[in-house]
C-alpha cells in the first residue's frame, strides 16, 4: 500500500496549521506587549502615564516633550550614557567576535596539546553566568586600578564563550580543510590564510557572534553597576535605573517616569537597527561553489 502524506489541501493539514498560527500569534502578543507598553508610555505625560489605560495612547501626545526632557535633564547626561553604551558595546562586540573567530578557527582546524581540555573549559564557561563572576572581576580590576574606567566593562565583555563555541561549529561546517591546505600548497602562511581565505568564509558566523556580543554588552546591567561608580561612565542601563530609583523614592523626581519610558524606547532603537543592518551578513552560502560537498 502506498504511503500518502498530508498535503497542503488535506483537512488535517489545514487544521494543524491553524492551531500553529494561533499558538504563534499568542506567543507574539506575549513578547510584544512590553515593547508596545514602552512605545505607548513614552508618548504620555507623567500624569497620563498613571491616569489612562496603560496599553493605549492617551489623547495628549507628549512624545517630543519627553524626548526633549530626556536629553536635557541633568545637563543632558543621557546622551553621555548613550555614547558610553555605544562605545562599550561596539568595542566589546567587535573584540569578542574577533577573539571568538580566532579561537573557534583554532579549535576547528588545528591539533594542539590540551585542545580537548581547553574546549571543555570553554563549554563549561558557557554555563557560568557573568553575574557569578562580577565580584571576582571587581576584586581583580580594583587591584590593577581599572575600576570605574571604561575598561572595567570592556575587558570582561571581550570574553564570550558562547561565541567561541559557535565559531568552532561554524568553522567545522563552513570551511573545508582542503581549502586551507590549498592555501598552504600555494605557499601562504597561516596568518595570510586566516585573513585572506578563512575569515571571508567565516563572515556570517562572525556577524552572528558580533551581534550577540554587542547585544549582551548593550543590555548588561549588573557588571557596570558594580564596576562603575561615577555617573559619567554609566551606560544607559545603569543610568536609567538610577533615574527610576530616584522617581520611585519620590524625592522630587516623580516627573522622571515619563523620561525613563522615553529613555527605554531610545535605548532599544539602536539594537533593532544593528539587527537590521547585520542581517544581510548572516546570509550563508558564500562558500558555495568553492568546494564540492
Amino acid at each position: 500500500m502506498a504511503i500518502v502524506s498530508k498535503t497542503a489541501n488535506s483537512a488535517s493539514f489545514r487544521n494543524s496549521r491553524r492551531w500553529l498560527t494561533v499558538a504563534l500569534a499568542l506567543y507574539f502578543i506575549y513578547t510584544f506587549i512590553p515593547i508596545f507598553y514602552v512605545i505607548v508610555s513614552s508618548t504620555k505625560s507623567n500624569a497620563d502615564l498613571f491616569g489612562t489605560f496603560g496599553l493605549w495612547f492617551s489623547g495628549d501626545f507628549h512624545f517630543w516633550q519627553n524626548l526633549q526632557d530626556l536629553f536635557t535633564y541633568q545637563d543632558g547626561i543621557f546622551s553621555r550614557w548613550l555614547l558610553n553604551t555605544i562605545l562599550y558595546s561596539v568595542v566589546s562586540g567587535v573584540g569578542a567576535a574577533l577573539f571568538a573567530t580566532f579561537a573557534g578557527y583554532a579549535f576547528s582546524k588545528f591539533e594542539f596539546v590540551g585542545k580537548k581540555l581547553s574546549f571543555a573549559l570553554v563549554l563549561g564557561a558557557v554555563m557560568i553566568p557573568q553575574t557569578a563572576l562580577v565580584i571576582p572581576i571587581f576584586l581583580l580590576l580594583s587591584k590593577v586600578g581599572l575600576v570605574n574606567t571604561p575598561w572595567a566593562v570592556i575587558l570582561p565583555s571581550l570574553v564570550f564563550p558562547p561565541g567561541v563555541f559557535l565559531m568552532k561549529v561554524y568553522a567545522d561546517d563552513a570551511l573545508s580543510n582542503e581549502l586551507i591546505e590549498a592555501g598552504r600548497v600555494d605557499g601562504a602562511g597561516e596568518v595570510h590564510i586566516f585573513f585572506n581565505i578563512a575569515f571571508r568564509l567565516l563572515t556570517p558566523g562572525f556577524a552572528t557572534v558580533l551581534i550577540l556580543a554587542f547585544v549582551a554588552t548593550w543590555n548588561n546591567y549588573f557588571l557596570p553597576l558594580v564596576l562603575l561608580n561615577s555617573s559619567d561612565n554609566f551606560p544607559v542601563t545603569v543610568g536609567l535605573s538610577q533615574w527610576y530609583a530616584l522617581a520611585t523614592s519620590g524625592s522630587g523626581g516623580a516627573v522622571l517616569f515619563s523620561i525613563v519610558m522615553a529613555g527605554s524606547l531610545v535605548s532599544i532603537v539602536p539594537v533593532i537597527a544593528a539587527f537590521l543592518i547585520m542581517q544581510r551578513y548572516w546570509q550563508g552560502g558564500l562558500g558555495a561553489g568553492g568546494v564540492k560537498a
Binding site: E181, R184, V185, G187, H192, G287, G289, G290, V291
Partner: protein, 356 residues
C-alpha cells in the same frame, strides 16, 4: 620535473599505523598512480609527499633534497584536490593568481602566466567569474590551472575526478593524459578507480593496508599480479578465483580434473585465478569445469555471463556480443592453462606456469 624518492616512509595516527614503511622512486616526468581500496593509505601517502601530513618515520627526497621536514610550499609541488578547493570569494583569475601573489611575483608576469594557462585549459572566457558560476568540469580545470601556473616541480592529484559524472570523467581523464604529455611533468595521482589507474598511469602502485602490494606498468599488473589482492583489484570485471590443490604433479581445479603442473613442485597451491576474457563457454559436458548460467548482461560490445559453479563463487565469463548463451543453460568452461594464475595459501603468486 623532479625525481621523488620515498625511503621507509611510515605514518601513524595515534596507535593506528596507516603507512607501514613505503619505499618508492618516482622518476622524472613519470605518471605514477596510487590505487587501492578505501583505507589503503593511498591518499595519506600522497599527502605525506605533498607535505600536508608529517611523517612518523622515513625520509622523502625531491631531486635528492631531503624535504621530510619542509612545509608544502617549500617542496614546490602543486596539488589538485578532490573537492577542487577553489577559493569561493575570489574570481577564477584570483584563484589562479593567488600562489604567485603570495610568492611576490610582479603583477604583469602574473597576468601573463594566468592568461597563458587559461588559454591552455580553455578558461579564458571565465577568468572574471566566481567558482560557483562554473560547472564541475570547469572548476576542476581551474584547480588544475591553479596548479600549472606555479610551474611546480611535480603535480599531486588526490582523486580529482571522483566528483564528476561518468561522461565528464572520461573527458577529463583524456585531458589529464594530454596535459601530462604536453608538460612532461612528474605526476602522482591517487584514485580508487582501477580503470582510471590503468588508463592514466605509466606505472601503478597498488596499496593495501598501508603496504605497497605491487608496482608496475598497467599491463604487468594485469598479466602478472604479485598476489591475489592485486589480481582481484586490477581488471574489470574482477579475476575469477577458484579453489585448487596440488595432486600428483597436477593442479586440480575446484576438486575436478587437473592440469599439468609442469615443473612446479610446490604443495601449497590454494587458488587459481583466470580473467573473464580468458574463459570460453563450451557445450555442457566439455570443458574443465561446469556450471549453470545465472545471469547474462549484454553491454552491446560484450556479453558477460555469470556462471554458478558448485563449490566456488560465480565465475564471470566475457563472451562475444552475439553469444547465444542463455540463463539457466548448463555449460562447460574452458581456458588455456597458460593463462592461469596460481596462488599459494598466503595469496602470493606462484609464478611458475604449467607446461613451462
Amino acid at each position: 620535473m623532479a625525481v621523488i624518492e620515498l625511503k621507509g616512509v611510515e605514518k601513524s595516527f595515534g596507535s593506528v599505523k596507516v603507512i607501514r614503511g613505503v619505499d618508492l622512486k618516482v622518476e622524472h616526468g613519470e605518471f605514477v598512480v596510487f590505487v587501492g581500496p578505501s583505507g589503503s593509505g593511498k591518499s595519506t601517502l600522497l599527502r605525506l609527499v605533498a607535505g600536508l601530513e608529517e611523517t612518523s618515520g622515513g625520509t622523502i627526497l625531491i631531486d635528492g633534497r631531503d624535504v621530510t621536514n619542509l612545509g608544502p610550499a617549500e617542496r614546490e609541488l602543486a596539488m589538485v584536490f578532490q573537492s577542487y578547493a577553489l577559493y569561493p570569494h575570489k574570481t577564477i583569475r584570483g584563484n589562479m593568481s593567488f600562489g604567485l601573489e603570495v610568492a611576490g611575483f610582479p603583477k604583469d608576469e602574473i597576468r601573463q602566466r594566468v592568461d597563458e594557462v587559461a588559454r591552455l585549459l580553455q578558461l579564458s572566457d571565465y577568468l572574471e567569474r566566481k567558482p560557483r558560476e562554473l560547472s564541475g568540469g570547469q572548476r576542476q580545470r581551474v584547480a588544475i590551472g591553479r596548479a600549472i601556473v606555479r610551474e611546480p616541480v611535480a603535480f599531486m592529484f588526490d582523486e580529482p575526478l571522483s566528483n564528476l559524472d561518468a561522461g565528464l570523467r572520461v573527458d577529463m581523464r583524456i585531458e589529464i593524459t594530454k596535459l601530462h604529455q604536453r608538460l612532461g611533468a612528474t605526476m602522482i595521482y591517487v584514485t580508487h578507480d582501477q580503470v582510471e589507474a590503468m588508463t592514466l598511469a605509466d606505472r601503478i602502485v597498488v596499496l593495501d593496508k598501508g603496504i605497497i602490494q605491487q608496482t608496475g606498468s598497467p599491463l604487468e599488473l594485469y598479466e602478472h599480479p604479485a598476489n591475489l589482492f592485486v589480481a582481484q583489484f586490477i581488471g574489470s570485471p574482477k579475476m575469477n578465483v577458484l579453489p585448487a590443490a596440488f595432486k600428483e604433479g597436477r593442479i586440480s581445479i575446484n576438486g575436478g580434473v587437473g592440469i599439468e603442473a609442469g615443473k612446479m613442485t610446490g604443495t601449497d597451491v590454494a587458488n587459481v585465478g583466470i580473467r573473464p576474457d580468458d574463459i570460453e563457454i563450451s557445450p555442457d559436458g566439455t570443458g574443465l569445469i561446469h556450471g549453470k548460467v545465472d545471469v547474462v548482461e549484454r553491454l552491446g560490445s560484450d556479453t558477460f555471463a555469470y556462471v554458478a559453479v558448485p563449490g566456488a563463487h560465480a565465475v564471470t565469463v566475457r563472451a562475444p556480443r552475439d553469444s547465444a548463451v542463455a540463463i539457466g543453460q548448463d555449460v562447460g568452461l574452458t581456458f588455456r592453462p597458460e593463462r592461469l594464475q596460481i596462488f599459494a595459501v598466503d595469496g602470493t603468486s606462484l609464478r611458475l606456469r604449467p607446461g613451462v
